[in-house]
């Protein structure tokens, strides 16, 4: 249930989160209680005025060793790169959509080669962001790390052949696995995990609809462009969750290399 409480707004969690955790410890929720809690989270987002925003308490990250801090600074830079990648992934489909129409033996298609460097750049920067998350996660988190590694490898490879949907699908599966597992381990915020999972599902649904509708090559470019635009929030979610740095504790006995600071994003 503690993960479900994360669905509530921050101010709401600060005010009622402990009490809900107490309810969870006292009695299992069951299916009805789980549905009720999710419904309550939607209600809380619709009515933020019910809780005084002054009760918001932003948890400070735990101090870390100097070495860990330097590692996290690298992760942060990789996150900034991923955010820049969001710009590239928006530019790429726009260029593809404005490419010249070319005719060959199988009919007309739109030449999107101008978009290719931007697509590749976006994928490389996303992989960098995922590398940043691997640094931030530290040891453990095997499922999340596996998902991130799969996405990290498949993304740039997919950029070399965007029409190879299997590599793109594998990348999205990796991202969904990473987001779900990292969220479950409190290493990724609910909003970021939701953005990654929802964008991935939307992309697959759009391309799937195009395949089912058997669109021609010209229409296929449009479907592909819409699908690529749908995944742009992933870059922001990956990059935006790496920006926060903990304090450095120069007392090695007090500091920790455990990625606990990750839980506050």
């Amino acid at each position: 249930m503690s993960r479900l409480v994360d669905l509530y707004p921050r101010a709401w969690r600060a005010r009622y989160g402990d009490e809900l955790e107490d309810l969870a410890a006292a009695r299992p929720l069951g299916l009805g209680g789980t549905i009720d809690l999710v419904r309550g989270a939607f209600d809380a987002h619709r009515h933020p005025e019910l809780v005084d925003p002054d009760v918001v308490v932003i948890a400070a990250p735990r101090p870390v060793s100097r070495q860990r801090y330097e590692d996290l600074r690298v992760a942060r830079r990789l996150g900034l790169g991923a955010i820049a990648g969001a710009v590239l992934i928006i530019i790429a489909p726009i260029l593809a959509l404005n490419g010249p129409i070319v005719f060959d033996g199988d009919g007309a298609y739109r030449d999107g080669m101008a978009a290719w460097p931007f697509l590749l750049g976006a994928m490389v920067l996303l992989s960098g962001g995922l590398l940043g998350h691997l640094i931030r996660l530290g040891s453990g988190h095997h499922v999340a790390r596996t998902g991130a590694i799969v996405a990290l490898l498949c993304g740039p490879l997919w950029a070399f052949g965007p029409w190879n949907l299997s590599l793109g699908t594998l990348m999205l599966v990796g991202l969904v696995v990473f987001a779900g597992a990292a969220w479950g381990a409190r290493a990724l915020s609910a909003a970021a995990a939701l953005a990654i999972i929802a964008s991935s599902i939307a992309c697959v649904a759009i391309i799937g609809a195009g395949v089912v509708a058997q669109v021609d090559r010209l229409q296929g470019t449009t479907v592909f462009v819409i699908a690529i635009l749908a995944v742009a929030p992933i870059w922001l979610a990956i990059g935006g969750t790496l920006h926060r740095l903990p304090e450095v504790d120069d007392d090695p006995a007090a500091s920790t290399d455990a990625p606990r600071e990750a839980s506050t994003v």
Partner: protein, 107 residues
């Protein structure tokens, strides 16, 4: 239904139950949940419970006390007590009217 409670929409009924539960003294969330379940015979979900508590607190029907460990007790306010009284008296009048009419129809 009393306007103060009726305005709470789907939280109106839970609000009434919670006010009744708190009418004999402060209780924390889990104790309210158990009490409402005993009164109404139906479980009160945590999302509904805290959605109702937030609204009641905002309207001044209840107030939160200092937490004991992780458990924060809630107490009915003067406004909450008068609202509950008005609501119960309205329901009592409604009950009497309905029963009188049933008796009249069965004669």
């Amino acid at each position: 239904m009393n306007r103060e409670i009726a305005e709470l929409g789907r939280f109106a009924e839970p609000t009434l139950y919670i006010l009744v539960s708190l009418s004999d003294g402060p209780k924390h969330g889990y104790a309210i949940m158990l009490d409402v379940e005993a009164i109404s015979g139906a479980p009160l979900g945590p999302g509904t419970l805290y959605g109702a508590l937030a609204r009641m607190e905002k309207r001044g029907l209840i107030e939160a006390l200092e937490p004991v460990d992780r458990r924060r007790p809630y107490r009915i306010t003067g406004l909450g007590a008068s609202t509950l009284r008005a609501q119960l008296e309205g329901l009592a009048g409604f009950t009497r009217l309905g029963l009188d009419r049933l008796r009249g129809a069965s004669r």
